[in-house]
C-alpha cells in the first residue's frame, strides 16, 4: 500500500519511474505531486512504465509515485444507472459539483454516491447455503430496473447474517457468509471488480433471440441477436453516432451501457439532455432509467480512452450476471484502437500495420468475446450485445481496425457515404452489410411476428440485388430503354428504399416495431406481385406507378403510430382497388382494339 517510487522520465501519457520493485503489474498508482491516476503497464528491473489517465503537463522528475495496491477497478452496486462516468469510472456530476465546468486533475471521488439511500429487500434467510452469483437481496434502483445484489463470484458458504428489509447506503454490509473453512466473509452492497478481468458465468448459450431495435433495416434485413456482436463502420458524416443513439434509445434491452470513446463532448451532452425526455416504447418510462454513460470525449486523455471500453464492459457484465439483457454501444472503437497505437508508439514498440501495434487483433478479440448470451453463476439467463462503431480513415473498410474487427463480429452494418450524401438514413448499405444471426433468429420472428418473415426477407434482398444490376444499366443508357419488367423491379426497389429502408430518426418513425416493418414490407411486395401480373398482361408501367395510392406507399411509414396498422390496411385496400381499375381499364381498351 505504501510503496513509493520516483519519476525519471515523462513522454506524453507515458511516465517511467524507479524503485518500483514492490509494485504489481497493472497496479493503479498515483503519479507525482499532482496525484494523477495511472496504471503500470510494463516492469523492467527496478523501473516501471506507467500509462497516466490524466494530462501529464507539469509532472517533474523526482516526484513520487504511490501505489494503491489494486488494479484499475470499478465499484459495482446501486447508483450506477442514469449516471455518467469518465473513462476510469469517476462520476462526472460529482466532478462538476466539486471542480467546476472544466475537468481538473488528480481528483479522487468514489464512483458510487455514499449518501444515496436504497431500500434493501433480502431474498435469502439465515442458514441458507449460497454460492457466487446467487441473489442475496434486491434494491429497486429505478422504476425500470431492479438491482439484484449478488454473492460475489468467488464466495460460497452459509449465510450467517442477512440484513432485514431496511434502508441502506452504498457503504453498508448486507450479509455475512461463512465459507467451508469457517472464514467469515462480509458482503457489502457494493463490490469492486478489476475492469480488465472478464466476470465469470456458468455456460454460454447460442444467441437465437433477436435484440429488437425498432430499426427496420436492422430488424428486417440484418438482425442482431441478444448476446451478439455487431459493427457499424462508416466514414465521417455517415451517421454512426445517430445510428448508435437510435439503438441505445429503442433496443429492447433491460439496460444500455453507452460508451462515448474519443467522440464529441456535445454528443454526450445531447444524450444527457435527450434521454430523460424520451420514453422507453415498452414501459413508457424515461430512457435514462435504464442507461449508463461512459464518456471519454476526444479531448480527454488517451490512456483513459483505452480504459473506458473496459470500464463499460465490466459494468455490463455485472448487470448481465443479475440475469438481464444488456446492450453495449461503443462509439467509436477506432478511437480506442488509436489510443492503443499512441501508447504503443510512446513505448517504442515495433508497429505492425499503419503504426498499430501487432496485438491490436488480440485486444479486439478479447473485447468482443466478452459479449454473449450466457447462463449466469446464479442460473439465470443474461446477455451482452456489443455494437461497436468503427471510424475508418477516409471511409476505407480495408484499414486495419475495420478489417480486424470484421474477424470477430458476426453482424456488419456498412454505412455508405453516397447514401448519406443523398440523405438516405440510416445510410446502411443493403448490399455490403450482412448478419450471420439472420437464420438463427428467424424462428423467433416467425413465431412472434409472422411466419412469412424469413421468406419476405429473402425476397426483399433478391429484389434489391437485382435492382443494383438494373441501376448499373440505367446509369449507362437511361431508364427508357428497359423493358417494363425491369422498370418495375427498379420502381419496387425505389418504394423499398423510400418507404421501408429509410427511417427518420427525428420523427414518429424513429421507433418502428417489427409488426409495422413487416406490414410495410407486405404492402410493397403485394404491390410488386400484383403489378407484375399487370405488366405481364401488357399494362404499361407508367399507368401503374403514377397512381396516388402507389405513391402513398412511400409516406405510410410517417403516419402517426397510434393507428399505423389501420392506415396500412386502408392503403392496401385503396391500392388493390386502384390496380384492379387499371387492369380492367386496360382490358376494356384492348377489347375495343
Amino acid at each position: 500500500m505504501n510503496s513509493l517510487g520516483t519519476i525519471v522520465s515523462v513522454n506524453g501519457p507515458v511516465v517511467k519511474a524507479r524503485a518500483m520493485r514492490a509494485f504489481g503489474m497493472r497496479e493503479m498508482v498515483r503519479v507525482g505531486e499532482l496525484n494523477l491516476w495511472g496504471e503500470i503497464i510494463r516492469m523492467e528491473g527496478d523501473e516501471a512504465l506507467i500509462q497516466v489517465f490524466e494530462d501529464t503537463q507539469g509532472l517533474r522528475i523526482g516526484e513520487p509515485v504511490r501505489g494503491t495496491g489494486r488494479p484499475l477497478s470499478v465499484e459495482l452496486g446501486p447508483g450506477l444507472v442514469g449516471k455518467i462516468f469518465d473513462g476510469i469510472g469517476r462520476p462526472l456530476d460529482v466532478l462538476l459539483e466539486e471542480e467546476g465546468a472544466m475537468l481538473s486533475r488528480g481528483v479522487q471521488v468514489p464512483m458510487l454516491d455514499r449518501k444515496s439511500l436504497w431500500t434493501f429487500k433480502p431474498s435469502v434467510k439465515k442458514g441458507d447455503a449460497v454460492a457466487g452469483g446467487m441473489v442475496l437481496g434486491k434494491v429497486q434502483e429505478t422504476p425500470l430496473l431492479e438491482h439484484r445484489i449478488l454473492v460475489p463470484p468467488s464466495v460460497e458458504g452459509e449465510v450467517i447474517y442477512i440484513r432485514q428489509e431496511s434502508v441502506v447506503t452504498a457503504s453498508d454490509v448486507i450479509a455475512k457468509i461463512k465459507d467451508v473453512y469457517g472464514n467469515i466473509v462480509d458482503v457489502p452492497i457494493v463490490h469492486v471488480w478489476p475492469v480488465r478481468k472478464a466476470r465469470p458465468y456458468r455456460e454460454r448459450l447460442l444467441p437465437n433471440e433477436p435484440l429488437v431495435t425498432g430499426q427496420r433495416i436492422i430488424d428486417g434485413l440484418f438482425p442482431v441477436a441478444r448476446g451478439g456482436v455487431a459493427a457499424i463502420p462508416g466514414g465521417f458524416g455517415t451517421g454512426k453516432t445517430v445510428t448508435q443513439h437510435q439503438l441505445a434509445k429503442w433496443s429492447d434491452a433491460h439496460l444500455v451501457v453507452y460508451i462515448g470513446c474519443g467522440e464529441r463532448g456535445n454528443e454526450m451532452t445531447q444524450v444527457l439532455e435527450e434521454f430523460p425526455q424520451l420514453n422507453d416504447p415498452r414501459s413508457g418510462r424515461p430512457l435514462m432509467e435504464r442507461t449508463i454513460l461512459i464518456a471519454n470525449t476526444s479531448n480527454m486523455p488517451v490512456a483513459a480512452r483505452e480504459a473506458s471500453i473496459y470500464t463499460g464492459i465490466t459494468i455490463a457484465e455485472y448487470f448481465r450476471d443479475m440475469g438481464y439483457h444488456v446492450a453495449l454501444m461503443a462509439d467509436s472503437t477506432s478511437r480506442w484502437a488509436e489510443a492503443l497505437r499512441e501508447i504503443s508508439g510512446r513505448l517504442e514498440e515495433v508497429p505492425a500495420e499503419e503504426g498499430f501495434p501487432a496485438y491490436l487483433p488480440t485486444r479486439l478479440a478479447e473485447f468482443y468475446e466478452r459479449a454473449g448470451r450466457v447462463v449466469t453463476l446464479g442460473g439465470d439467463e443474461g446477455s451482452i450485445t456489443i455494437i461497436g462503431a468503427v471510424s475508418p480513415p477516409g471511409g476505407d473498410f480495408t484499414e486495419p481496425v475495420t478489417r480486424n474487427t470484421k474477424r470477430f463480429i458476426r453482424c456488419f452494418w456498412a454505412l455508405d457515404k453516397s447514401l448519406a450524401g443523398a440523405r438516405h438514413f440510416p445510410a446502411i448499405n443493403w448490399l455490403e452489410s450482412y448478419s450471420e444471426y439472420a437464420k438463427e433468429v428467424e424462428d423467433w420472428f416467425s413465431t412472434q411476428v409472422n411466419p412469412k418473415w424469413g421468406d419476405y426477407r429473402d425476397k426483399v434482398r433478391a429484389l434489391l440485388a437485382e435492382d443494383e444490376k438494373i441501376q448499373q444499366v440505367i446509369r449507362l443508357v437511361g431508364e427508357d430503354v428497359l423493358p417494363d419488367e425491369q422498370k418495375l423491379v427498379a420502381f419496387t426497389a425505389f418504394l423499398l428504399k423510400n418507404g421501408y429502408l429509410q427511417q427518420n430518426a427525428f420523427s414518429e418513425d424513429a421507433y418502428s416495431p417489427p409488426e409495422k416493418g413487416f406490414a410495410i414490407l407486405e404492402i410493397i411486395l403485394h404491390f410488386y406481385e400484383k403489378a407484375s401480373e399487370l405488366v405481364k398482361r401488357g399494362v404499361p408501367l407508367s399507368l401503374i406507378r403514377e397512381g396516388k395510392p402507389v405513391l402513398e406507399i412511400v409516406h405510410v411509414r410517417e403516419k402517426s403510430k397510434e393507428n399505423i396498422m389501420m392506415e396500412i390496411s386502408d392503403l392496401k385496400r385503396e391500392l388493390d382497388a386502384f390496380l384492379e381499375k387499371v387492369g380492367s381499364e386496360r382490358k376494356a381498351t384492348r377489347g375495343r382494339v
Binding site: 513522454n11 503537463q57 471542480e99 467546476g100 465546468a101 474519443g262 456535445n266 517504442e348 449507362l476 437511361g478
Partner: protein, 476 residues
Amino acid sequence: MPFWKKLEVKERLREEGSNMPVAEYIGLKAINGPFVLVENVKGAGYGEIVDVVGPNGTARKGRVVVLDERATLIQVFSGTEDLIPENTRVRFLGRELTMTLAPSILGRTFNGLGEPRDGCGPVFGNLVRNVNGSPINPMARVYPRDFIHTGISAIDVLTTLVRGQKLPIFSGNGLPHNRLAVQIATQSRLLGAENFAVVFVGIGIKHDDATFFERSLMEQGRTNNIVTFLNLADDPVIERIAAPRFALTAAEYLAFDLGLHVLVIMTDMTNYCEALRELGVAQGEVPSRKGYPGYMYSDLASLYERAGVLKEGKGSVTQLPILTMPNDDITHPIPDLTGFITEGQIVLSRELDSKGIYPPIDVMVSLSRLMKDAIGKDYTRDDHPNVASQLFASVSRVEEVRALAGVVGTDELSEQDKASLKFGEYFEREFLNQGEDEDRDITKSLDLAWSILSELPREQLTRVTSEELRLHIKKF
C-alpha cells in the same frame, strides 16, 4: 461562478510577468532541427517553458517535450539558428505556456506565442491561464441549439451554423474560402452587437491573406471587437502549434468570463497539421497515415473541442476553422480527421467555382450535424427540415442525371430527367449563387428554395408533405 474554480491553484501557475528562472543549465548536448537536448536536468516539469539564451544574450522561448533525467528534449519556438552548444544557457521558468487575460485584449494583435505584435506593449491583468486549457465536463455543456443567421442561402437552409458549433470550411488552394469566412463573420448579424467578438488566428498564412482579413474585418465591424493572433508563413513553424491555443484561451475567456458570443476563425489548419508532422518526424516518432503523427486526432480534438456553450455562463465559442485540402482530396488525413471531430463541414467545390458560382458550396458533401435541432418550428420555419431534405434528394438526383447525360446525351433523357437537369441549373444559378455582400433573410432563402423546387414534377417531391406543397407551390 468561477469556471476554473480550483484549477488555477492546481496548475501551479506563476505570474506571467515573472520570468525569474527556477533553474539554469549551461551547455547543450545536441541540436537537431528545432530541438535541443539538455543533460542531467533536475526538477524540470513536463511541458515547462524555458528561455534558451543564445550567444548574443537574447532569449527565445522553448518547451519541454520529453522529460528524462538523463537528457531532456526541448522544442525551441523561434528556431535554433546560431546556438552554440557550449555556452547556450537554458533557463527553466517553472511554469507552463500561459497567457495573461484582461478585457483589454480586445482590439489587440499578438504573435503565435501570445506576445504583442502591434507595438502597444504587454497586456496587464491578474488572470493568467494555461493555454492548453482543460477538457470541458460534458455535464457542464448545453447542447447548441441557437441558429446563427449567416444570410447565405446554402448555409442557412442546408448546412445551418449553430452557436457553439465547430464547423470547418474544407477548401482548396485558390478557392474563395477567405471571402466566405469574412462574409459569415460580418453577416452573422452579431458583429457590431455589444456582446459579440471575433477571434482571428492566422496559422502560417501569407502576408496578403493576413492583410485581407485585417482590412475586411475592420471595415465591417468595430476594431475593438476583434482579437488577432498572427503566425505568418515566414514566422517560426513551431509557433503554429501554439497560436491556436493562445487564440482559444482568449476566446474562452471572452465567452465564459465576459459573456460574449465569440466566433473563432482559424486559418489555415492545414499549416497547423503540417507543422505537427514536421515536429513529429523531427522527434523520431512512429508515424501513422501519410507520415502524420498517430496523435493528430487527439491533438486536433484538443483544439476543436474548445467550442461550445456552458450551462453557467452567457457566452459561447463558435469555431470556423478553414483548411485547404491537399490536392482537393477529402480523404487526406487532415480533412478526414477534422471531419471526425467537427460537427459537420462546409465543402467548397472547384467545379462550381469555375462556373462562376459564389459561394461554391458543394451541398452534397457539406453537412451540419447540429442543424436538425436548430431549425424548423420555433427556430426558423416549420417547413425548413422538409425543404432541406427535399433539396438534398433532388440535387442528388441531378448528379445522377448529369452522369447519365454525359453518356447518352441530353436528348435521350426522359422528361423526368430533363426536369432534374433544369432544376440543377436553377439551383446553382439562383439558390447557391449570391453576392459577396448579399444578405438573404432565412424566409427569403426558404421561399427561393420552394420556387426552384416548383420546377420539378410532383412525383419527385417525395420528402415534403402534400399540405406543404399546396401551401408553397401554386400549381399543386
